[in-house]
């Protein structure tokens, strides 16, 4: 029976024009059409969205937990990428 379980889908919703689609959860559906319809009924019952993306969970690639240090820590030391790194004389406005 387990082989017949519908695949898992991840659901992303744009709550209003101008904002990104944001991950809200997952659900089970047999295909993309019904995944969208199910997402509409499960995740937008209270007007939470104006656009939905669904992606089969199996198609999502994620960073490996073991790579966290090499992936993300090197950027921690590059503080010159942030505006607060720079000094601006008093009196300079709108910068």
């Amino acid at each position: 029976m387990s082989t017949n379980e519908w695949p898992l889908w991840e659901v992303f919703i744009r709550s209003k024009q101008g904002l990104n689609h944001k991950h809200v959860g997952s659900l089970r559906a047999p295909d993309a059409t019904l995944a969208l319809e199910n997402a509409r009924d499960v995740y937008t019952r209270r007007s939470e969205g104006i656009s939905i993306w669904v992606v089969e969970s199996a198609h999502i690639h994620a960073t490996d937990i073991d790579d966290v240090a090499s992936f993300f820590e090197p950027s921690d030391t590059k503080i010159y990428r942030h505006p607060t790194f720079y000094e601006v004389p008093d009196g300079v406005k709108h910068m």
């Binding site: 029976m1 387990s2 959860g25 997952s26 499960v42 937990i65």
Partner: protein, 312 residues
């Protein structure tokens, strides 16, 4: 890193209030505790649809019918959010549900009590959802990320559940003598089962200490139960309903209400399957799954055919 070192690092994260996410290292027992607790919670939502669902066709007016439909539908949604949280721990929804159907997994015993009158619907909203919310608000800060996020969403949606129940009871309590009596009768039947919803007393709770240390649980069963009693007494007074406990009284020294000992024999009997509706509830869920099998298979078969056509 050795197992012991990983466990230390894990506990440090928990202590620093850093959420645990699905791919993070976690002790096996933490994972198993979560699977057990979240799936039990999910099953409670889904089994909880049944007692209330049986009043949808008999709701006394169209507004109440719509409210009840929307509420029971929310329970389905909440079950689904929680099953999804369990899936992040590596257990599929079907496995989780099979554990319920085989009797291996539990759900909240409250749903093994029957909903006999329309007043029960209001009372379930007020007391049962009230007790559940007490628990769920605490769980919004639980240490496992997907569980905490599901709880935040659930709490937001549940806020109308308790209110609609209380509102419905307000109508009954301000209505005719028959309506008032109906409300009191529901109160008499649901008060003690509602208190049992917080689980065994701390002295008998096997999982409590470790769960608190891991911040899966933030408060003990008895703490939450006490909070619930303290919050509910005044609400009952406003309705003019009597709480069926002669020993209920304010204790100035403790700053809390004292109340009678729960009938733990009844609690354990119902947990073990001997409540008024255990068999019916489980049978209804098994039936829905079995009768839905051909539907799920049909959709899978169709999807496969379409995929083959596309790739041909």
């Amino acid at each position: 890193m050795t197992q012991a070192e990983q466990e230390i690092r894990f506990q440090e994260k928990i202590d620093r209030e850093i959420k645990i996410e699905p791919n993070d290292w976690m002790p096996d027992e933490y994972r198993q505790t979560l699977i057990r607790q979240i799936s039990q919670h999910a099953h409670s939502e889904v089994v909880g649809m049944l007692p209330e669902g049986n009043w949808i066709t008999r709701a006394p007016n169209l507004r109440r019918k719509a409210v009840l439909l929307a509420k029971v539908q929310d329970e389905a949604g909440h079950g689904l959010y929680l099953y999804s949280a369990v899936e992040t721990l590596g257990t599929s929804r079907e496995q989780t549900i099979d554990d319920l159907h085989s009797g291996k997994a539990k759900y909240s015993s409250i749903f093994n009590y029957p909903a006999l009158t329309w007043a029960d619907i209001g009372t379930i909203g007020w007391l049962v959802d009230g007790a559940a919310i007490m628990n769920q608000v605490a769980l919004c800060r639980t240490s496992y990320g997907p569980y905490a996020r599901a709880m935040v969403k659930i709490c937001k949606e549940e806020s109308f559940h308790q209110r609609q129940g209380y509102e419905s009871l307000t109508k009954l309590c301000n209505g005719t003598p028959q309506q008032k009596a109906m409300a009191q009768d529901a109160m008499n039947r649901f008060w003690w089962p509602a208190l049992m919803m917080f689980g065994p007393s701390d002295a008998d709770s096997t999982h409590s200490d470790q769960s608190i240390k891991w911040k899966i649980k933030r408060f003990t069963n008895d703490e939450l139960r006490q909070n619930f009693v303290d919050a509910t007494v005044a609400q009952a007074e406003i309705l003019g309903l009597t709480i069926p406990d002669p020993n209920l009284k304010w204790n100035e020294a403790r700053g809390h209400y004292d109340f009678s000992e729960i009938n733990w024999d009844e609690f354990w009997q119902v947990v073990k399957g001997n409540g008024p509706c255990n068999k019916e509830r489980l049978a209804a869920r098994v039936k829905a799954k079995e009768e839905g099998a051909w539907v799920r298979e049909a959709a899978s078969a169709f999807a496969k055919k379409r995929d083959m056509k596309k790739s041909a």
